[in-house]
Symmetry: none
Subunit: 209 residues, 4 copies
């Protein structure tokens, strides 16, 4: 079945966008967020800086799309972990640990998230629409935690709080991990995460049992 010219052009255009985003990811990973200039991204993508403006409105827009990809990856990572787990307890554990693990292994993705959700961004942030989309991705990545908690018998509000708490705890540990602060106290981030999850599950089971 033949495709029209418009579709073909669209496909080509999408492909190019993808290549630029990939280049951006690489630059972020290699140089960190501060060191990632538009120029560097363009160069790595085989373009002139000016050319990127045909594909993205601004440097910040590129950041935003890279973040979107990052969050999509996170979500996939969590979903796969949950899918491979048997039983509600295992699922909760898997989801929480997968979330932690993703950022523990990919420090730059953590940077990305911080930078964008903070004031790092231009005046008005990313625009409402994109902001909501990003929030959706993030929530979707965390949702399995609440789901599993409900499966374990927690009422919805409590399950959601547990989700938020786990998010917070993981985030805090990740920060301590990536800044070397946790080493300073002689602790291990993954162990602390495990312990926290055990705590939560123990509490849940006890409450419901």
């Amino acid at each position: 079945m033949a495709i029209g010219r418009a579709e073909r052009q669209q496909a080509v255009s999408d492909h190019k966008r993808g290549l630029i985003l990939e280049a951006a990811r690489e630059v972020f990973t290699a140089e960190g967020l501060e060191g990632a200039s538009l120029r560097a991204i363009a160069l790595r993508a085989g373009y002139t800086p000016a050319a990127l403006y045909f594909h993205f409105a601004s440097k910040e827009a590129i950041y935003a799309e890279v973040l979107q990809g990052s969050l999509a990856s996170l979500r996939r990572h969590v979903d796969e972990a949950v899918a491979g787990a048997l039983g509600a307890e295992a699922k909760l554990r898997a989801a929480a640990v997968a979330f932690f693990h993703f950022y523990a292994e990919n420090p730059r993705d953590l940077d990305l998230g911080f930078y964008l959700f903070r004031g790092g961004m231009k005046p008005k942030g990313l625009g409402r629409e994109r902001d909501e989309a990003l929030n959706g991705f993030l929530e979707a990545a965390l949702r399995p935690i609440a789901d599993a908690a409900m499966e374990l018998g927690a009422p919805r509000p409590e399950a959601e709080l547990l989700m938020v708490d786990t998010f917070a705890h993981a985030t805090g540990l990740l920060l301590l991990l990536h800044t070397g602060r946790i080493r300073m106290f002689g602790a291990s981030a993954p162990e602390r995460m495990q312990a926290y999850v055990d705590e939560c599950i123990g509490r849940l089971v006890q409450e419901q049992g």
Copy 2:
């Protein structure tokens, strides 16, 4: 009693330093850490950029002093809270909540701390000496938590882990708070902090009792 010329000059000099640091704080607050330029700080302080170099060796030195002041405030805040609490349990609660509260009320101080602890700084940070001093301040602000836990009967290693966990949890919640993420989930950061501390204390008491 009259004071000598040297003392007076020293006092004047210190005062000016203080004004510059205050200006720096303001600029950091207004523009964010990345956007804070020496020029901006100088301008706000009513100086030429070059003039700052008489009072501080570099931009990083200014930052270091501002951060040091912030951490000193934090520590004071925690110490005062602990001093006003009766009983080990109350002390633990007071210390943890005071830590959280300080940064909840002063979001920019959180920024200040992050920036140092991330790679934002020049290769080797601010120099070993200052770095260690800053770490010392931070640890001192957290230490009361471990102390109280030990008073409640926890062995030292466990007490230190509790301190780290509390630090992480508070940090995570603060991040969620300041990035608006916690609102998105319909939760309240102070409440979650309270709940976490209750949890910890409950566990401790049960274990020891």
Copy 3:
């Protein structure tokens, strides 16, 4: 015959480069080498400083090209003089005098060369490649002296020493000339150069004869 777009663009680009280099020459001439700032060059060329970075990688790169042009001129000057001379003796005389004459007439070109050959340049100079190229130009400009000496019967090693000696003598005289020191002693630089060359030729002829 029509020329392509690419060629035309290249030609335009080359022309602009040339204008910038010309401006740079002028600034070097007017302000001296030390005082020549990128800003000044850009201004004289009718550009913003940043614009120069599109055409040249750095200030040193500009300097390198200006110097290269200078040495190329020198070489051309010498070659033409030699080409117009009949007989080995005349050639030697022509080459030596042309070398001297070029720098006597273009004092700033002498500056240009000195600056490179002193420590004025960044640690490693202009990069090995360019450095060798420049040395090549210089040697090529002096080579005709040795060649002529050999034609007059001098063995190669002796001819090369004569070349070096002539280079040194000319350089010394030029320095005295441009610093006004020679006037102080009531002598004339061109005359001294002539006399030196006569001396050399006399010696050579006597030896071989």
Copy 4:
């Protein structure tokens, strides 16, 4: 015999000037001419930059005095060499070689001389008076060459030209030496200087003999 207050003050002042000049020399030697800032000189001398302005009118004035000292050293060096030589021929040789040797061993002194006698200096140079003084020193350092030539029988005008020629030749060789250019041609500066002097003496002796 008691000295007056004025004399004592003068002596103290002179001593301080001397210390500053010594510091300046050291900085020049260590950092080169470009790297020698007033600040650096003041620091090494144990003063504040501002303090130097009580002893010298400007940075350039310091340069000038250091140069004066350098030329005085040169003269002393040459005089001593000549004083130790027996016979006119030996004296000529000694004077020429001593001149060369002084600058071969003290490259920074050569820098100093160049910088000051060129346009490196502020608009109007050093002022007539100082300029003449410096010229006097230089001439005095070279004079023994002419004197010896006259002792060998050369008429004064010829002797003076020989002095100038030797000055030029030495200067040229020194430049080639300190810029590494002479190595590029596989020659040795001291050897070439010796050869040049031999040449001159040979010629003189032959003419007069």
